[in-house]
Amino acid sequence: MAAETEAADGEEYESRVGASYTLSRLLQDTSARISLFLIAIISAGALFAFVDAEFLDYRLAETYLYHPLRNNVGARPLLPPVGLSNQFGEGVMAHPLGTDTRGRDIAVRLLYGSRIAIQIALVSTTIGVVVGTTVGAVSGYYGGWVDDVLMRFVEILYSIPFLVLVIAFMAAFGRELIYAMIGVSIISIPIFARLIRSEVLSIREETYVEAAQAAGVKDRNILLRHVIPNSFAPVVVQTTLQMGTNILIVAGLSFLGFGAQPPTPSWGQMLSIARNYMLPAPWFSVWPGLAILVTVMAFNILGDGLRDTLDPRLEN
């Protein structure tokens, strides 16, 4: 064992654990910084859209932008972005990204569409993390029949064909957003459960867990204070990646017509409509696709950056 020096009194060793340390380390990575910035912007936009849509009934949009839902009287449909022209006319500054089939501004609809994507991804991923972590941690820590039973449940969840499940839901209960959210949550749970379980299996053999048991600490506290915090690093990474995945899934659902119903915009839905106008107005489909791409990539890159930060360096 290496003998390390004791710092002289007064000199502070930097602490190598904790969120602030991780964040500062993360920010040293350029691509992580960029992705974090992008995510911040997108989230800010989504938040704005959410507030406006839920509580202010689109008043802000009406005042400063365009109403995303109502047909824009006077605007020409399917205009290309500013600077270009197609068979429907010329792009104008008023609609920098162009207009959709009903003359609505694409940029505004993108903004309000982001709210759907982020909302579902956030909620579903959170549920997935919370439930998955609990199940996985308990399963891994106690082992035995608890482990067997819980893991069988998890495997059942895994094996359900997701699309069939969601469609079945919606056929039964209606095409509300909420059912899409539930569906995406369900498929997120097993991923986290398995991840944490495998971490917990190794952490529970650590001596400090045994020491806590020997000291008489209750199981619940052992899990909360010792086991879960030390198993959490991969979960953090997976959370960001899962956000990206869930956004893709939500977009796919919207594309198929499940999820937010028109006229509420969502990216997948916009893509679906644009599909019919690929030849005459190709730009219509590019923007929502690009939005999805950039968002998912930002989360993925963030996840990569987190993985690099968390894995080797935190443990000595």
């Binding site: 390390e4 806590a212 000291a215």
Partner: protein
């Protein structure tokens, strides 16, 4: 030592582990008849029928090689593992059958210190809360009281109380062991099981930590069960010593008694096998051959018999010491396939040189050979590992006789050294068992 009452009494304590996990692991295909699927469960007999007592205030050293079950015994006593059988009387109360809640409450009085200073502290917790945690678990004091006590304890073990807010990785190995001590002491226990607490530390740090442990024992009136494989450390810190082999205690005695006059052949072998930091004693060491047998299937009867240098020859054969030793060596070499049998004459020359055995195989020997004076040495075999076709059948043996002292070539020390060489100096070495009979070699893999 205050009082003669025992704080811990262990009776017939047994701990077996069943091998195999999962539903199908232990199911085997057996086509010999009956139902083709059979369930076989093997048990690792880690601790088998152990009984002893520890008195208040003393340090009982528990020593043995890897796999002898000493760590398992330590953990079973604290019921970190469930005993398979037997009783554990702690302060008069049998804790072997306590339910979970009751058991948790007894943890206040018995604590454990672990071997690895690195992994025994939660890397994400600050040191202060680590020391406080046991107090919290048993609802001792309040928040402020706990913090104050934690700082006191850090000081008591030789650390700066200002480091309360540091993380474990900011301390050295020896310091982390002190944090372990502080944590164990926080609930004011009576009894501490120390599982190789200094094995992972450098020699000089080890000394510091051992000294600290001694001081703390005085100050807080502690009782230690000190588990180690290092006989030097055991000799330094223990009052009494228990020697374990393959799940059983083979000898238990006062420290000086055990080291100066060991009575069990295993203890004797152990003691004569360790190197000593004294170059003039190089060459007086003997070796204990072979590996510890598999605890799943320990030898019947005396578990040490497969390696014991003092194995008693069976009555049916009338063998002298030399013959018996030669026979044993031969049997071992056969089992290990340590040579190629050529002709009877060659085998005889190799193994039974100077010793004559008569009689039918399996029958009792009728001629008793005269006890030849103990030979001072056998011919050494030389052989080369390079085979060439012409020598493919060359006789080879991997045995090494102990015709010369083991260890460093016995260069005579310069005239200024006063220590005399080898065997005479060591009170427990026996010239006979050192040489011919110390080789034992049941191979367990």
């Amino acid at each position: 030592m205050s009082g003669a009452e025992s704080i811990l009494r262990v009776e017939n304590l047994t701990k077996h582990f069943s091998t195999g996990s999962g539903v199908f692991d232990t199911v085997e295909l057996d086509l010999s008849g009956g139902f083709p699927l059979k369930r076989t469960v093997e048990h690792v007999r880690a601790v088998d029928d152990v009984s002893f007592e520890i008195e208040r205030g003393e340090t009982l050293g528990l020593v043995g090689e890897s796999g002898c079950g000493k760590s398992t015994l330590g953990r079973t006593i604290l019921r970190l593992l469930q005993p398979t059988d037997g009783d554990i009387y702690f302060k008069g109360r049998n804790i072997a059958d306590l339910d979970k809640g009751e058991l948790r409450r007894t943890r206040k009085d018995q604590q454990m210190i672990f071997q690895d200073p690195q992994s025994s502290l939660n890397p994400r917790m600050k040191v202060g809360p680590i020391v406080e945690e046991p107090m919290k678990a048993h609802d001792l004091y309040d928040d402020d009281g706990r913090e104050e006590r934690a700082r006191e304890l850090l000081e008591a073990v030789g650390l700066d109380p200002q480091h309360y807010n540091r993380y474990p990785h900011q301390f050295s190995g020896g310091q982390r062991q002190r944090i372990n001590l502080a944590r164990a002491l926080s609930v004011d226990p009576d009894f501490i099981v120390c599982d190789e607490p200094t094995s992972a530390l450098d020699a000089s740090i080890q000394a510091q930590v051992l000294n600290t442990m001694r001081e703390l024992q005085e100050e807080f009136n502690l009782t230690y069960l000190f588990i180690s494989h290092d006989l030097s450390v055991i000799r330094h810190i223990s009052d009494r010593v228990a020697v374990m082999y393959l799940g059983q205690i083979v000898e238990l005695a006062e420290k000086e008694e055990l080291f100066e006059d060991p009575k069990h052949p295993y203890t004797r072998s152990l003691l004569s096998a360790i190197p000593v930091p004294d170059p003039s004693q190089a060459g007086s060491r003997t070796i204990l051959q072979g590996d510890v047998p598999d605890p799943v299937d320990p030898p019947s009867g005396c578990r040490f018999r497969t390696r014991c240098p003092e194995l008693i020859p069976p009555d049916a054969y009338d063998l002298g010491d030399d013959e018996w030793a030669a026979v044993r060596e031969f049997m071992r070499a056969v089992r290990r396939r340590a040579f190629d049998p050529e002709s009877r004459a060659a085998v005889e020359a190799e193994f039974f040189d100077g010793v004559s055995l008569g009689g039918e195989a399996g029958a009792s020997s009728t001629t008793r050979s005269t006890t030849s004076p103990r030979r001072s040495g056998r011919k050494r075999r030389t052989y080369s590992p390079t085979p060439s076709p012409s020598r493919a059948s060359a006789h080879r043996s991997s045995r090494r006789t102990n015709s010369r002292p083991v260890g460093r070539r016995a260069a005579s020390p310069p005239a200024t050294s006063t220590a005399s060489n080898s065997l005479a100096g060591r009170p427990f070495s026996r010239p006979h068992s050192n040489r011919l009979a110390s080789r034992s070699s049941e191979n367990a893999g």
